[in-house]
């Protein structure tokens, strides 16, 4: 189940990864699962939100405590290997944006949600 990440009080950092998948799924799920597991062990990782639609357009946003933690993840060996495979096989286009989150605002209503 997808959840909204309950990030700490700003400022913190966000890396927005917007991508379009190819039709090639070979090896993708295994590597994606590995990366999710490894990133969650990184110092300064605050959580991630991820959605992809049926046409292969997706967005993943990871949240970080500092630019140092983002740069360490950028240089992480399994991450670099996954990125190379991604460019070769799984992504036809992507954009990575590194951001400073200056303010945020959380809302929770009293509705029943679609997600159980």
């Amino acid at each position: 189940m997808n959840e909204i990440v309950r990030t700490p009080k700003p400022p913190y950092y966000a890396v927005i990864f917007t991508s379009i998948r190819t039709a090639n799924d070979k090896g993708y799920e295994q590597v994606a699962n590995d990366i999710v597991r490894i990133v969650s062990q990184q110092k300064g990782f605050l959580g991630a939100e991820s959605v992809r639609d049926k046409d292969g357009f997706g967005m993943t946003i990871s949240y970080w405590a500092s630019m140092d933690s983002i740069n360490s993840w950028k240089n992480n060996a399994p991450h670099q290997k996954a990125k190379e495979l991604g460019k070769e096989k799984w992504y036809s286009q992507y954009m990575i944006r590194v951001c400073l989150v200056n303010s945020d605002n959380f809302f929770a209503g009293n509705h029943n949600t679609k997600i159980k």
Copy 2:
């Protein structure tokens, strides 16, 4: 069709809207369409990327030239009305994050994409 927004050279701004929909769809599509049309006419609006999965978890990121343009949109009357309706009816939870985009990196491969 969803597209990666070809934003100008950083710095620019991003507003990340992560949300969980309720099961109540009444009036949602009409208002959502109206808001897309109105926001695209705002000064400083650079584009938006949006995805929602079948469970109702979604992310919309809008890109902006300045904090002034974000604040003008925040105070826009149809937008404020839509936000009230959203809290009453359509969203069980949401988070809004206002960010400064400091760097970005676009990749385009030679693959065939899933999206036509």
